[in-house]
Symmetry: C2
Subunit: 649 residues, 2 copies
């Protein structure tokens, strides 16, 4: 027999919960947490319910009343004000005071005798008088038959509704069980703007290996464009054994620099710096100078070794041995990757391996790195990531981990669940209106919303997608605009994207003459149409909080299949952004976009003032459906700041 | 640091699970249990996985291999052979033997050198030789460089695939956690055919109060029609205080029998019999005679009391007292139901109340009752039902509980989760093709499939739905055919349905002159079109296992919005039923129905032999789309038995 047999409310499906509470739901500082639950009792008695929440480090619970949204779904919200773990749970009970009140009103309004009901009401008022003494006198009046009509009037008054509201008759409470967790991370976990470059290609003058100090000189350029994360591919010593040459050739010629992802040589491993890039002091200078410009350095973490990595000699048991005593290189049969030794996470010394890899993160955190872009995390055990991210975060909660897992949906989801702050996505390949809408709706409204934070990349050093190959500027601009406005976090593999590099290895989604295997020399002093647009888009993102969230996106109907329109707003509608993009890079497109009246709380008389944040052109819209026209050769998108005329609010 | 750091497979979302394992999933004897889980590891290594299952009362686990169905979803099935609780869990691991085998094949077929791979293979064979000694010699041959080519041939042979298959390299296993439960109930939990009548109306001769012995005389009629459950509204003494009269009038005239749901008087309560119906011996005779005809008696359980129920005097604390000392009657303000006192489940003596109500079930089980149709369970606490059903079931696992909760979806679902065997449904109001298809797909494919077993009723004593009011025979026949063929369990409030009673209280979905408040006199010797059709439909249900499941339903495309078509098959296709119903009671309708080729495993050459189980007419279909025509004045539905011509299999 249950202990709480008198508790008549059932609580089911409390959200947000990830895998039933196995993992925390994620939010960032300032975001709203919408708690929902299915609540029902037996019969028609009224339920009252509240959410209790607190920071895990605080002793005090706060409360928010839940409201019935229909179909037995109740909701309450609170704001996650600080970084850290929050806990919450739901309580509900049959509230006999409210049930009585509702029944009384119906009976009184139907002219039914309510003498007995007034006596019952007096009992509730006696209870409430413990915290509001004046109600005791009201109870006495309710018991006076001479005041029968007067008392009915009192119950039917608006004031009485407030009395019922503030005196919940808490009894036989049902609780939702162990508190659920919300992990609240810093703003940058949600809103970040990434620029990727290879520091060895950062020399202003051509013809030589770039250095950290060269990269320092590029910082003002990157900051001016509005990026706040500078992501560097691995900066460790590059393996000399089985080094790859230009265009991924199996043997490098003398002097070829190799792939930065083949980590480690006699010059050191994951805690060392590639000597040609500079010293630790130079790296510190880069971190420090970047920070002055509000730019964080993101380091690449690729847990794999070149054959001459010191680990191979010092810890052969961390790798898989073959029957001839050689070490198993990476392969995707029949392909061989003999320049890379994967770790064997089934090693008998797996604990030693885990601890060493943790120490790599901690070492770089000590050097001032707070963001790690993790290479291929899906080729290392998910339980390892859960542990190591938990370990780092417990000491350094501000650290951000970006998962570079371009793999199957459930694996990407799982990595996000266990702790990765942000994730690369399929945006890179979502190109048509329908594809984009379906994918965004899945990200924003699907269950992964509670743990999977997208970071949109139109390109990466590994990926030149087919739709950019051999194409002109317009499609690059379209892809940048989509990434930067739909997702609060986005990034570009900078120089090839800025300079419209569109030459693939034919038949593949790879760059020909990839920078992964050679040093590039860019004309860093050049700016162009893309540079200007990125600067304006990033400024719009910085100045408009509506663009600093991904979760507030709502598509707007527009009857042209080449035109995509969506709105983003802050919760309080103090900032409203409407984006319209022409997905056709070749032809001007026009159509009518529907303003979402209910979302914007518009009355019948629409009066919207729009400013295009790119062109600074002004428009006034007074209709629900409004004409837009986008010529991709001029500008394939609008980013409108929308002001709702006062009288319409 | 986790203890099983070397276990690299992640297991998520193991199904069937109800609320994460809080409640058991339900099946019936002979049904297949499809276990699914999301499984993935890091990288490309091969996973092997199995389901372990056993009856809770058995010590031995059985195993079934899971297979990858794509998108990281794996599945295995087992059959629930016996009544009782089953347990199951999932295990998965990286299988290095299979990974090696796959890589070897790719390399060998690509002409890559595999000398080292053969040595690795020999190690796996050494391991396998522990259970299959002959593999030791094969390992030796693999190590012989002179047999290099021969050994490659061995690995590429079909026999070697079988060796890999039967020697899983079980290591670093991931387990899904606490076993999940499946409650396996008897066949009748899924497949049952209900006839409801008021025994007081069962006298063959008019003009007097019917008795149990009268009902005994009706049993052959009911059995001939093919019903196997006879459900009786409450048969307890009826309250005399505040008794309701004809048509629910607030005061009964002298001699009016009252509503059987106003239970209890000075003649006794929930464990007593209404004296005018007969003695306990008479009731025993009814139970015994029914059982001889394979009919089970279903008793109505309505946990509420008339004002003169003995409980009211003996246990006033089980009811809610009002300030004047009176007992709170049922109400739905401003409506009053003064003939009914609800129990107060918040009573300080709630344990005493729970135990007494349990004793009511146990008393009637002792009298031979194995089916309870529970009246308005949603007006009593759900936790009470969970407890009391668990208590009864632990001693009497065969007992069936039908939930009469015509209420909100989540409440109905919750009652089914906590233990009700079957549930009344919204079928009663699903009338158009789209409504019916949506609802059936929700029942069959939605999450409630694991716990909510529908029982379809076209009418009840409380409900004469609008679509039957003032209508002719055809719609009654359509509704019966739908209920009986879509759902493995269905029932009718018999006599008014058989005899096409269609007169409502105007504006309401209620019968005028409802049998709830008066004795009816039916011409029990009469049979008609409905009697004949029910007899044939129920025979088809009895003879065709495909009709004895609800879960095997699949709709077939048919381009007429008035025609509904669906197929039901046994797992092995040994029984195939195709049903086509004309939903339009007034007009003949025709259309082309598409045969589901993949479900029936049909080749390009279709050759189906159909027999209409109502008319015994034969058809041969050799096309994917086939013409059907249904005249509702003749017969508004087909129930085809489909035989797949041998050469097509």
């Amino acid at each position: 027999m249950s202990k709480d047999g008198q508790s008549r409310v059932v609580i089911e499906n409390v959200q947000p919960a990830v895998d039933g509470g196995r993992y925390p739901a994620k939010r960032t500082v300032g975001e709203r947490v919408d708690v929902t639950a299915n609540l029902f009792g037996d019969g028609h008695d009224h339920i009252r319910a509240r959410v209790s929440f607190r920071k895990a480090s605080s002793a005090e619970w706060s409360q928010a009343w839940m409201t019935d949204r229909g179909n037995d779904e109740w909701a309450a919200s609170f704001y996650a004000e600080e970084e850290g773990s929050y806990l919450f749970f739901v309580e509900a009970w049959i509230d006999h005071f409210e049930t009585w009140y509702d029944g009384f009103r119906k009976k009184a309004l139907a002219g039914v005798d309510v003498k007995l009901e007034l006596l019952e009401g007096a009992i509730f008022l006696d209870g409430a008088s413990a915290t509001e003494a004046s109600l005791s006198a009201m109870a006495t009046r309710f018991r006076d038959p001479a005041r029968y009509k007067e008392s009915i009037g009192v119950v039917l008054s608006a004031e009485f509704a407030a009395i019922v509201e503030r005196h919940p008759a808490v009894q036989f409470v049902t609780t939702s069980g162990d508190p659920l967790r919300v992990l609240v991370e810093g703003r940058r976990a949600l809103y970040s703007t990434w620029y990727e470059l290879f520091p060895r290609s950062s020399a202003l003058e051509g013809g030589r290996h770039g250095t950290f100090l060269d990269t320092v000189k590029l910082l003002p350029r990157i900051a001016t464009m509005g990026f706040d994360v500078l992501y560097l591919p691995p900066i460790h010593p590059i393996g000399k054994v089985n080094r790859k040459g230009k265009n991924n050739s199996v043997t490098a010629k003398a002097g070829e620099p190799g792939s930065p992802w083949a980590i480690g040589s006699d010059e050191g491993g994951h805690k060392a710096l590639h000597p040609e890039l500079g010293t630790l002091a130079d790296f510190h200078k880069l971190v420090t100078e970047a920070r002055k410009l509000q730019i964080a350095i993101a380091m690449d973490i690729a847990f794999q070794c070149a054959p001459d990595h010191p680990y191979v000699k010092d810890h052969p048991d961390w790798f898989r041995q073959r029957p001839d005593g050689s070490i198993q290189y990476a392969e995707n049969p029949p392909k061989k990757y003999q320049d890379i030794y994967p770790f064997n996470f089934e090693s008998a010394d797996w604990k030693g391996l885990w601890e060493e890899l943790r120490s790599v993160f901690l070492y770089w955190v000590e050097q001032g790195v707070t963001i790690f872009r993790v290479d291929n995390p899906h080729t290392k055990p998910i339980r390892f990531w859960e542990w190591v991210i938990g370990e780092i975060r417990s000491k350094h909660p501000e650290v951000i981990f970006l998962s570079e897992a371009f793999t199957r949906p459930k694996v990407m989801a799982s990595l996000a669940k266990v702790g990765f702050t942000q994730s690369y996505t399929y945006f890179t390949w979502r190109n048509t209106k329908q594809e984009i809408m379906e994918y965004m709706n899945e990200l924003v409204h699907g269950p992964s919303r509670n743990y999977f934070r997208p970071n949109f990349w139109p390109n990466t050093p590994d990926i030149l997608p087919y739709h950019l190959q051999h194409q002109g500027e317009n499609i690059f601009i379209i892809r940048a605009a989509l990434a930067a406005t739909m997702s609060a976090s986005y990034g570009i593999y900078g120089p090839p994207f800025e300079f419209f590099e569109n030459q693939p290895v034919e038949g593949k989604e790879e760059y020909v003459n990839s920078e992964k295997y050679e040093i590039k020399h860019y004309d860093w002093k050049r700016t162009n149409r893309m540079t200007d647009l990125l600067t304006m888009i990033n400024r719009a993102r910085r100045e408009h909080p509506a663009l600093q969230s991904t979760w507030n996106l709502q598509f707007c109907p527009i009857e042209n299949p080449h035109l995509l329109a969506f709105i983003k707003t802050t919760d309080d509608l103090s900032d409203v952004i409407l984006v319209v993009v022409n997905l056709d890079p070749h032809t001007p497109q026009s159509g009518y976009v529907q303003v979402p009246r209910s979302r914007l709380k518009l009355s019948d008389k629409i009066n919207l003032k729009l400013t295009d944040l790119m062109t600074q052109e002004h428009y006034t819209w007074t209709q629900e459906w409004n004409y837009v026209e986008l010529n991709p050769y001029k500008l394939p998108f609008h980013v409108f700041h929308v002001r709702i005329h006062e009288s319409q609010m």
